[in-house]
């Protein structure tokens, strides 16, 4: 069991999300940085989809009420277990009564606290992810708060060694991220349904703008500012399904990228869609930071998942090896 000691708004239990219930109007929810979640689970030998705590407001403190192996992945933050420092992307064994404190990240937005055995709340519609808007999943369908007791699944301590880490993916999956030097996160997208309705000039603005992720951004979506995108003739769209990563252009002209908690339906023209391989990077982008879009083909978008799958596979294989030592 884990007891939450300090938690500000919007820290929730998330797994890889709720698939297959969109037709009932249920959005997927799920970790904003699925690579960090999967890597944390890999470090501990859990299923990749085991639920963890997504921390996006800081400081966050919890107490382990039993000996529990845990991992911290995602944003690079100052974390301490009792008086010991916990390096980022690291797994450790906590003793009963020890307190884990997570401070504000130096880089990135969201930290994942994974535990051996996973967070053991009931699955609802196939997932343990918190659906805040409809108030189900996770812990009673709500954000964590001080005093909450969070159940941990069967196996609480990993056998063998548990004091090692993984290299963060932003260091190893570098091919798509040549832009660190200019402090703009380059996000790869494919064109979407209404791209061709925008004029050449508007498309040029879309591709060349350094978009700022506005303060009105959360797990539901990121509203971008930096330029206005308009259609010469407005189109009337009928309500249709959308998925995370879609870049819609509402009449205000400020594009919106739908994220994990986005509605199942949209009705604005769709300029583009962020490829699956870059959603995790976007999930770590903070309000106030800048992004820019580059276009890739369908084939390149599919191929871009290979380095991510390889990375997760390597973390899992190495962790299995370490634990066996």
């Amino acid at each position: 069991m884990i007891e939450i000691l300090t938690s500000h708004a919007f820290n929730t239990i998330q797994d890889l999300g709720r698939r297959g219930a969109r037709r009932f109007g249920v959005s997927t929810s799920g970790a904003m940085d699925p690579v960090a979640l999967e890597a944390g689970n890999a470090l501990l030998g859990n299923d990749g989809d085991a639920a963890s705590i997504e921390v996006q407001t800081f400081p966050f403190r919890l107490r382990f009420n039993a000996g529990i192996s845990f991992a911290l992945t995602g944003a690079d933050c100052d974390a301490r277990l009792g008086d010991r420092g916990v390096p980022p992307w690291w797994c450790m064994r906590a003793r009963a009564g020890e307190v884990l404190t997570i401070g504000s990240p130096r880089r990135g937005a969201r930290v994942y606290v994974t535990v051996a055995g996973g967070i053991d709340v009931p699955r609802v519609l196939g997932s343990r992810s918190t659906h805040l808007r409809a108030a189900f999943g996770g812990l009673d369908g709500r954000a964590l708060q001080a005093g909450d007791v969070v159940p941990v699944g069967g196996q609480r301590e990993t056998a063998g060694r548990c004091d090692f880490g993984a290299e963060p993916p932003e260091l190893t999956i570098t091919e798509s991220d040549p832009s660190d030097q200019d402090r703009v996160l380059r996000v790869r997208v494919m064109r979407a349904g209404e791209h061709d309705l925008f004029s050449d000039a508007m498309r040029a603005i879309f591709w060349s703008t350094r978009w700022k992720i506005s303060a009105q951004s959360d797990r539901g979506g990121y509203r971008l500012t930096g330029a206005k995108l308009t259609l010469a003739a407005p189109v009337e769209m009928r309500s249709h399904g959308v998925v995370a990563g879609v870049v819609q252009v509402p009449p205000s002209g400020d594009p919106i990228i739908q994220m994990s908690d986005a509605n199942t339906a949209g009705g604005y023209p769709k300029m583009a869609a962020v490829i699956q391989a870059d959603l995790w990077r976007l999930g770590q982008a903070r309000p106030g930071s800048f992004i820019a879009f580059s276009e890739v083909s369908y084939q390149d978008a599919v191929a871009a998942m290979a380095p991510i799958n390889d990375y997760i596979g390597r973390v899992r294989a190495t962790a299995d090896l370490y634990r066996a030592l």
Binding site: A192, D196, A273
Partner: protein, 231 residues
């Protein structure tokens, strides 16, 4: 950007192909062309029924004259998939709106039907006439979307069409019976809502613990019954 934008030389003779486009590598949107009507919507339901059993299709999500497919894995041959969908579309018959009949008792007006006076003012009808017209209609669930269990109901009498609000009401109660443009619906969650509340129904529209979490599904029929009128 659509996958299949070859211009048909037979437009006007043969029916236009649906527009098919990708939303990333794991979703594909199929949109029927032309005006909305229940026959087109019935073909969308048929299409969704068939496509949801195709290999690699995670689910088929019905919208208003469109369906979005989500995939387990990126399809190997998007062009071939799109062509098979177009071929299927042209030979499908529409499913009739012959789902279950849901009867919803409504307390019209009152504290929770706080937009009824605005509908009265816009329509030029009396409150009782608005209520009579709304409760006499028979509605069809076109799609479930925008929030868990929320059905887009078609069949509203044009005399009581009412545009959505530009500033949504905060915390409209779950169960609020609403009008948004030419559609009506029952709010499934308590949340901000831009539709106009004319009454309230004590009925659970969505329960994630039920095997069928959404009370309404596309093709169902809905009738509103006057439980009480609070004016």
């Amino acid at each position: 950007m659509s996958i299949n934008h070859r211009a048909s030389p037979f437009v006007g003779v043969l029916e236009k192909d649906p527009k098919i486009s990708l939303i990333g590598t794991l979703a594909m949107l199929v949109e029927a062309q032309g005006e909305f009507d229940l026959v087109q919507q019935g073909r969308i339901w048929s299409l969704a029924d068939v496509l949801s059993s195709w290999p690699n299709v995670e689910e088929a999500v019905v919208g208003v004259t469109n369906v979005m497919l989500t995939f387990e894995q990126p399809p190997d041959d998007v062009g071939a998939l799109a062509a098979s969908i177009v071929e299927l579309w042209h030979r499908l018959s529409p499913r009739n709106p012959d789902g279950k009949l849901i009867e919803i008792p409504v307390v019209y007006g009152g504290e929770l039907g706080f937009d009824l006076p605005a509908v009265v003012a816009r329509s030029g009808l009396s409150a009782r006439e608005v209520i009579r017209i709304h409760s006499e209609g028979e509605y069809t669930v076109c799609a479930i979307a925008s929030s868990p269990g929320f059905g887009y109901l078609h069949g509203l009498d044009p005399r009581i069409f009412m545009p959505r609000k530009s500033v949504p009401s905060l915390n409209m109660r779950a169960g609020s019976v609403t009008i948004g443009g030419m559609q009506t619906g029952v709010a499934a969650l308590t949340s901000p809502n831009g539709w106009n509340a004319i009454g309230w129904a004590e009925m659970t529209m969505f329960d994630p613990l039920r095997k069928q979490p959404s009370l309404m599904v596309p093709g169902d029929r809905v009738k509103f019954r006057i439980a009480r009128i609070d004016l």
